[in-house]
Symmetry: C2
Subunit: 368 residues, 2 copies
């Protein structure tokens, strides 16, 4: 079996092969369609930490030793294909998110909708460049979502697939986890934008977004998916899902803190980005509950608009003084420790537990 640290490069190789196969198909439909394929390839191949594939692989590792599935090249290829498929889901999620959040940059490059807006202007085309950019990015995200399913099921959208040797079918139990994961992330994202619009200040609303948009999608379902590919029984799958929710929530809470207090040089995002964007995080919900009336009003007035240095400092002050930051740090520690303790109790190889520990630290103790 590959080591965990080899997974990102191995997944990149699968993705690269996929784009080499699909690029000419789009190009042959019409040269301008080729631009769409290149934008998606560039987006996927330049950046991304491949966190979700590593959790799939770790889950597979947990099941592998326990269930003693023979490690045929085919089973390794299947796992890597599913890992690559998740990265295409992530591409759809980010490309569409960037439209929703009106973001200009991602991973140091223009976002996909801005890339097509710029292309429209550079070619001197007719009518609304920004609307063309959004429209192109909606369709490119859709293509990523459709292709994710193709990869998951081992199908390439090539000209004539009738003669191809089909891979072994992806197990139905894995398809079921895959289905839950996609529904959960889309529902979580829908809830997120709706909370922002409605100004829902309840902890419940923020916690549901964390659970579905982040914890399930980023950690719990990938772990469970990997374990299912390895033939894990229901007990191991449930336990990994539970560990994934604990770690995933710790991950999101860390993200909440970085979203307001992170160093822009490290995070690549502007100072206080989550406040400016109007994100309804759990951190914010705790602060609004705990701050007194005046302080809560200061914080509330800082949500969803541009802030100068003094305003940002004032908002940060409320988050600290209300105890919300300390409470969030406490919850991160609690969730991480709970996850780590459950990892020790897993009935699997020590090398698989070591992988999980390493990932648990990686996603909860970080500065970017």
């Amino acid at each position: 079996m590959l080591n965990l640290t080899d997974v990102p490069a191995a997944v990149d190789a699968v993705l690269d092969e996929f784009f080499q196969a699909t690029g000419p198909i789009l190009e042959s439909i019409y040269p301008t369609v080729g631009d769409g394929g290149r934008a998606l390839r560039d987006f996927v191949m330049t950046g991304g930490k491949r966190i979700r594939p590593m959790f799939v692989y770790a889950g597979r590792h947990c099941a592998g030793d326990k269930i003693t599935v023979s490690e045929t090249p085919e089973s390794v290829a299947e796992t890597l294909r599913v890992c690559a498929a998740i990265e295409l889901i992530q591409a759809c999620a980010l490309v569409h998110d960037d439209i929703l959040d009106r973001s200009d940059t991602r991973r140091g490059n223009p976002t996909v909708h801005r890339r097509f807006e710029a292309l429209h202007r550079a070619r001197g085309w007719d009518r609304d460049a920004a609307h063309y950019g959004d429209s192109a990015a909606i369709l490119i995200g859709d293509l990523a979502l459709a292709w994710a399913d193709d990869l998951f099921h081992g199908v390439l959208p090539v000209g004539d697939t009738a003669q191809r040797e089909p891979p072994r079918p992806t197990p139905f139990a894995a398809s079921a986890v895959w289905s839950q994961m996609r529904t959960e992330v889309l529902a979580g994202q829908f809830l997120d934008i709706t909370n922002e619009a409605s100004g829902d200040e309840s902890s419940t609303a923020a916690e549901r977004v964390m659970a579905y948009k982040t914890a399930a999608y980023t950690v719990a379902r990938p772990l469970e998916l990997g374990a299912t590919l390895g033939g894990a029984d229901e007990t191991l799958r449930r336990e990994l899902h539970g560990i994934g929710i604990d770690l995933g929530i710790a991950f999101q809470l860390r993200d909440d803190l970085l979203g307001v207090f992170g160093d822009p040089v490290q995070t690549g995002k502007p100072s206080g980005d989550d406040l400016v964007a109007g994100k309804r995080t759990a951190l914010l919900a705790v602060a609004l509950q705990r701050a007194d009336g005046d302080a809560a009003a200061v914080l509330r007035a800082s949500i969803g608009r541009a802030l100068d240095e003094a305003e940002l400092a004032a908002a940060r002050g409320v988050l600290v003084d209300s105890g919300a930051v300390a409470e969030t740090e406490r919850q991160i520690t609690e969730r991480r420790d709970a996850g780590l303790a459950r990892i020790e109790g897993l009935d699997c190889a020590e090398s698989a537990r070591a992988d999980l520990r390493a990932l648990a630290h990686r996603i909860t103790v970080r500065s970017r």
Copy 2:
């Protein structure tokens, strides 16, 4: 086997069951997420001619008698599930199209993005209602696309699917056609908006949009998909695909004529809608090639903007006088006759040929 005319109701029953299963899942994530599920259900269940499912069924019928696949209830259920899955692809395509085209109404109701814009206003929420509407509709379209794949593979995104009896796996050969269909419709749609933006006047560009966005997606791939589910051999699949391209192009050319000359009462769209929307149809390409300089200039000036009665009449005049309308009618007849002739040569049951003939007339001789 069901009759062709029973297919829409049978597909609606599958879709209804699907929404009854998925609705409570979204509702349980958070009540506002339930709004998203209801909007998708309403969109899918109120309207739609179920053309694509009928072609899937017709294709299945062509293969059924020839290959003598036993008509088990399971094989009928599989076909209907695939038919329902296509309607969810169609839901994604239309919901996202309506954002791209900035359409206000669809099937007599507000479009999905306008529904959420209105909900935002009605609830007195914060910030940009139109942007919230677009964002919600992007995510609802994504959900439809993800769910289409779930249905295609017989998976329901329910809370715990581990105990469910899995259906027999959808054949890999059908997954390959499904993959091609999704890539083709998205590529065709991408080409369509890019032609509109670039003002590409070539017949090739317009023909490629027809071939991929309409003919392949609406007729050729559904027919081929149904035949593949029935175990058709390569010869029958290719022949049905070819028939589908002929009929699908005739269908789109009829649509081009209705888009400029159709009766708004019949089509449900404003007069001259395609001109106003700036659609780069084959009809338009032919007219621009054949009209003399002054007439072409009149027509070119009518593309992509609001038109009064006199302007619309002038543009229509150019389409008629240039011979583009007659040429388009000639091509419709040619394509339909070619498709009908090939139907007669199919090595399948007479009842299957009768279904195909009926569908061929239905989609090429119509006023709406």
